[in-house]
Structure formats: structure tokens, C-alpha cells
């Protein structure tokens, strides 16, 4: 019966791996969705911001020597930087979807090539946290990865609380509902826009910092994850943040589960087929109610 136990262990292990990855993708997807919902910016540079987070985390860690501090620093620095980019450039074209795509493609190229020029093209590794291997229901699993998923979950929880219970959160919801009315009522709309873009970009960078120890840090890493993030946001529903988290975890967990039976590439193809079916069946996202289309 040893083989059978191994089989179940493998299933649990791969699914857990998928969930951990899903929590990282969820950070990027929530950031993307938040930015799109409030500013109407289709942020193609989200993958590049994730890469910047990972690269900065690696770079800062060489000086600071502390992983946790470098992750936080990288996320905050990218968030502040992105706020500046929003104020200087993206502010002029809010809600013009096609133009935001073009400009953020330009920014993606600038970030990636800039990182290549400054940090070089080598694949770097980050040590990450040194936590013991835990045994979950008889399955050994690296504690550092669980920690990573936990941090992501905690940050998303904090974000929810921030949106729900603070003045800024209230302003954000007001601006999303009706920017002109919000402005008339004295909401600092410009500040809310800048802050939202900074938070969305910071989430991507945090994802990069968290992913740094489990993937090779390289300049192209943003290109690989970008498609997944966009799919997650669409399938979860535009403007639906819990939907993004749910779909991210479901997608990556099912992909992880599939790798037990087929090789990783075919697992990706299967998950892509699944997502296509979901989009065809629920065009408004799986959690969004069917809205009546006007015009």
C-alpha cells in the first residue's frame, strides 16, 4: 500500500504548491483589478512591476541581508515609484482603455529593459526564510512556502479591511461609484487615484518579492505570469476583488493537481481550456451577476 500513500501525498503536495502560487498570482490580480476598476487603466506593466519587486528584493537583500525587510522595502519602493508614474504619465489618459494599453506596454518595455541594463540578465536566487519543514496531515511541506501564502492572505485581508473600514477606503469606493460627485463632495480624487495605483503596483511588487525565493529572479519573469494574471481577473470578474482571489487559487491549484497526471506544460494547456470554457459560459465572470447590457 506504500505506493498508494505516495500517490495521495503527491496529490496533496502539488495542490498545496498550486495554492501557494495561486496566492502570489492573487496579489497581482487584485492589484490589476483594483487599478482597472478605479482608474480604468489596463495595466499591462503589472508583470513588469512584479519583476521589479523580485529584482529589487534580490538587490536590497545583498545589502540589508534580511529577506523580510527587503521584501517590504521592495514593495514600498515600487509602490512609491508607481505613484509617481501615475501622477506624471498615466493621469493624462485615465479610462481611455486602448491608450492605457499602449502606454503601459511602453512602460513594461522601459521597466524590463531598464532592469536588464541596471541589474544585468543573469538569473539570480534569493535565499528566503529558513523555516522548518512542516508535516500537514502526514505530508511534509516546506514551512517557508506556507508562510508565503499566509503573508499573501494576511495582506489581502488587510487590504479588505482598509477598503472597508478606513476613510481612504470609503473615498475609493465613492470615486469608483461616481468620480465627479465624489469630487464635488470634497473627496481628494487625485490623491485617491495616485494611492490606488501605488497600492496596486505595490501588491504586484510584493508578489514578486514573495516569489523571489521559489523562482529564479530574472528580467523576463513578468512576461510569463502576465497572461495568467489577466485570465484570472477576467474569469473572476472585472471589479470583483474576491473573485480574482478565488479564481487565482482555483486555477493554480487545479493546475498543480493536474501535474500529478500529466506533465506541467500539458497541465497549463488543460487549465487554459478550462478557463476558455468558463469565459464562454459566464462572460461576466463567475462571481458577477449577469448584468443587463444597455445600448
Amino acid at each position: 500500500m506504500g505506493g498508494r500513500v505516495d500517490f495521495w501525498q503527491q496529490i496533496a503536495f502539488q495542490t498545496l504548491n498550486g495554492i501557494v502560487w495561486g496566492m502570489i498570482v492573487a496579489l497581482l490580480a487584485v492589484g490589476l483589478n483594483l487599478i482597472y476598476g478605479l482608474l480604468g487603466i489596463v495595466n499591462v506593466a503589472q508583470g513588469a512591476l512584479y519583476m521589479l519587486g523580485a529584482v529589487l528584493c534580490w538587490y536590497v537583500e545583498r545589502f540589508v541581508g534580511d529577506y523580510v525587510l527587503s521584501v517590504i522595502l521592495a514593495a514600498v519602493l515600487v509602490g512609491i515609484f508607481a505613484t509617481g508614474v501615475e501622477r506624471a504619465l498615466l493621469r493624462r489618459i485615465l479610462a481611455e482603455h486602448e491608450m492605457t494599453i499602449i502606454m503601459t506596454i511602453g512602460l513594461m518595455l522601459i521597466f524590463e529593459q531598464g532592469a536588464l541594463g541596471i541589474f544585468g540578465g543573469n538569473i539570480q536566487s534569493v535565499a528566503g526564510l529558513d523555516l522548518p519543514t512542516l508535516t500537514l496531515a502526514g505530508i511534509p511541506y516546506p514551512g517557508s512556502r506556507l508562510m508565503l501564502a499566509g503573508v499573501s492572505l494576511a495582506v489581502l485581508g488587510l487590504l479588505w479591511a482598509f477598503l472597508q473600514f478606513t476613510r481612504y477606503g470609503l473615498w475609493m469606493r465613492a470615486v469608483k461609484h461616481d468620480p465627479d460627485m465624489a469630487k464635488a463632495l470634497g473627496v481628494p480624487v487625485n490623491l485617491v487615484f495616485a494611492l490606488t495605483f501605488g497600492i496596486g503596483a505595490g501588491l504586484a511588487a510584493l508578489g514578486g518579492g514573495l516569489a523571489a525565493p521559489i523562482v529564479g529572479v530574472r528580467v523576463q519573469m513578468g512576461v510569463d505570469i502576465l497572461v495568467t494574471v489577466f485570465i484570472v481577473v477576467i474569469v473572476g470578474g472585472l471589479g470583483n476583488l474576491p473573485g480574482s482571489v478565488l479564481v487565482a487559487v482555483l486555477l493554480l491549484a487545479s493546475e498543480g493537481l493536474a501535474t500529478v497526471f500529466v506533465d506541467p506544460t500539458n497541465a497549463r494547456v488543460l487549465s487554459l481550456a478550462l478557463m476558455t470554457a468558463i469565459i464562454l459560459a459566464w462572460p461576466n465572470g463567475i462571481l458577477n451577476r449577469r448584468t443587463v447590457r444597455i445600448a
Binding site: E96, G106, L109, I110, E112, Q113, V227, L272, T276, L280
Partner: protein, 310 residues
């Protein structure tokens, strides 16, 4: 879209193409490369600029066209025209099948499904490396490209690219000047209204989707002929992204603009990469500046300048 823009593109391409034997090999490659990627950019523009369908999946047809060309010429020993026709037929079948699915949804969903299809194809091709050669791809010897029993020379292969470019661009331009093109634009403006006017909008969109797929497939087949090398990277969405960049840079919805965009950006990147390095960095800066200064691309900017001069 102005008729003289199309004529200008055809005349310039013909002159440049006929001057090829007198150019350095570097310039020859650049000119023919512009024609190949020009068709890819036109394929994007046909969908987005005329039918209002934002597709980031044109790499699928480009890559499949390139591979079908390679297989037809290398494995089955077909002569170049027959091989091109085979590649086109294969791409058309794929475009009908994928278009049928993609066009069931609209807006963001359409965009995402086109990305999903090209990404899935990229993964499948990477996995099936005995057939596709994976990332390294397949290198085609020049002797596989034959016409009337003779192996094509470099000049011969460049002439094939030129002829195909002229034919495909000319035909697409005429198509969009025709009533079909006007209906397509009516659908872009308001597809409900076009439907009420009695047009079968679903079928017209599918036709445009297939034509665009065929154009991208032809561009891929020409890529295989020109570079004698096909690899799975041709299926990656980054290629579709390039088509989008070129189209917007030249001026979307003009058909001549995308070719102009390729003709400006490719040499620009060549010059930058030999002078400074990191060419895509400067392309990125150009894109950002373009959006800030002028949103209608180079052709739009020229029209604006003309209106100022008058």
C-alpha cells in the same frame, strides 16, 4: 484610410523591392523583414482598426503559418507557391475554428480568449519538440525552397516575399475600400445597428477574422522563407504585442500606418541597438511619448501637421 496611402505603400514597396539587388545584404534583409512584419501588423489593424476587435492572438496564425510552410517545403517537398497555399489553407481552417469560438464573446473576453489560444498553442508546440524543434526550432536549408524545379536563390526568395506582400496588401486594401469594408466599419461603430440594418454581423466578423488570420499566416510563411528558421517563439503573445505596437505607432485604422510603423520602428531599433544597446527601452519611451503627444500614430500626426500648415 485614404486610397493614396495604399498606393503609396505599394509604390514604395515595389521600388524598394526592385532595388534589392543593388543594396547591401543588411539593407536587403531589413526591407524584406519590414514587408513580412508589415503584413502581420496589417493583420492586427484589419481586426482592431476596422472591425473593432482587439486581438492579441495574431501570433498563433503567424507561428502556425511559419511551421506549415516549413513542413510543406521540408517534409513534403512542395514547391514554394504550393507550400504557401498549403500553409494558407491550414491557417484558414484554424482561423475559422478559433474565430468561431472567440467571436462568441466580446470586449475583454474576446481579447483574453485570443491570448489563451496563442498561449496554449505555444505550450503545445514547446512540448511537442520532436515535431517543432522547441525553442531552438527547425533550420531549413535553402534547397528546400524550389520554384519550377530550381532551388531559389536569396534574390529569388526576396522576390517571393515582395510579390506576396504586394498581392496581400493590395488585396486587403481593395477589400476594405469595397462595400465589405464599409459594413465592417459600421459594425465597429455600432454592431447592433448594423444588425438591425440587416447585415449578418456574426458572419462578417468571422470573415474579417479569417482574412486577418490568413494575412498573419502568410506573414509567418514568408518569415520561414526569408529566415529559413522557424521556432516556437513565433507563437508567443509577445509577437502579437509587437503587431499591436507597430499598428498603434503608425496609426491604427489606416492599413498603411501599420506598415509605416514597422518601417520606422525596425530600423530605429537596429540603429539604437548598434549605437547604444537596449533597443526596446527606446521603443518603450517612444510609445509613452506617442501617447502623450499624439494618440493617432505617425499618420495621425502628419494629418494634424497638414491641417496646421493650411
Amino acid at each position: 484610410m485614404r486610397p493614396w496611402h495604399g498606393v503609396a505603400v505599394l509604390v514604395v514597396a515595389l521600388v524598394a523591392g526592385l532595388s534589392l539587388p543593388y543594396q547591401s545584404s543588411y539593407v536587403r534583409l531589413l526591407i524584406t523583414e519590414i514587408m513580412v512584419f508589415g503584413l502581420l501588423a496589417v493583420s492586427f489593424d484589419l481586426l482592431f482598426g476596422f472591425a473593432g476587435l482587439l486581438s492579441v492572438g495574431q501570433a498563433l496564425y503567424f507561428g502556425v503559418g511559419a511551421y506549415l510552410m516549413a513542413f510543406a517545403a521540408q517534409r513534403y517537398g512542395l514547391e514554394v507557391p504550393a507550400a504557401i497555399l498549403c500553409a494558407l489553407a491550414g491557417v484558414l481552417v484554424l482561423a475559422v475554428a478559433t474565430g468561431f469560438v472567440c467571436l462568441r464573446v466580446r470586449g475583454h473576453n474576446f481579447l483574453i480568449i485570443t491570448i489563451i489560444f496563442s498561449t496554449a498553442a505555444y505550450f503545445l508546440a514547446t512540448n511537442w519538440s520532436e515535431l517543432t524543434g522547441g525553442d531552438d526550432g527547425l533550420v531549413l536549408e535553402s534547397k528546400v525552397f524550389r520554384l519550377t524545379g530550381e532551388t531559389l536563390t536569396n534574390t529569388g526568395r526576396e522576390r517571393v516575399v515582395l510579390a506576396c506582400f504586394l498581392a496581400a496588401f493590395g488585396a486587403t486594401f481593395l477589400l476594405l475600400l469595397s462595400p465589405f469594408g464599409r459594413v465592417l466599419r459600421a459594425i465597429k461603430e455600432n454592431d447592433r445597428r448594423a444588425e438591425f440594418l440587416g447585415y449578418d454581423t456574426a458572419r462578417i466578423k468571422l470573415a474579417a477574422f479569417c482574412w486577418a488570420g490568413a494575412l498573419a499566416g502568410l506573414a509567418g510563411a514568408l518569415y520561414a522563407i526569408l529566415f529559413r528558421h522557424v521556432h516556437t517563439g513565433l507563437l508567443h503573445w509577445i509577437i502579437s504585442g509587437d503587431a499591436l505596437i507597430w499598428s498603434f505607432f503608425g496609426g491604427v485604422g489606416t492599413l498603411a500606418g501599420p506598415v509605416l510603423g514597422v518601417a520606422l520602428l525596425l530600423p530605429f531599433e537596429e540603429v539604437i541597438s548598434s549605437a547604444v544597446g537596449l533597443p526596446k527601452l527606446f521603443t518603450g519611451i517612444l510609445l509613452v511619448l506617442m501617447v502623450l503627444v499624439n494618440r493617432k500614430g505617425i499618420l495621425g500626426m502628419l494629418a494634424w501637421l497638414r491641417s496646421k500648415v493650411r
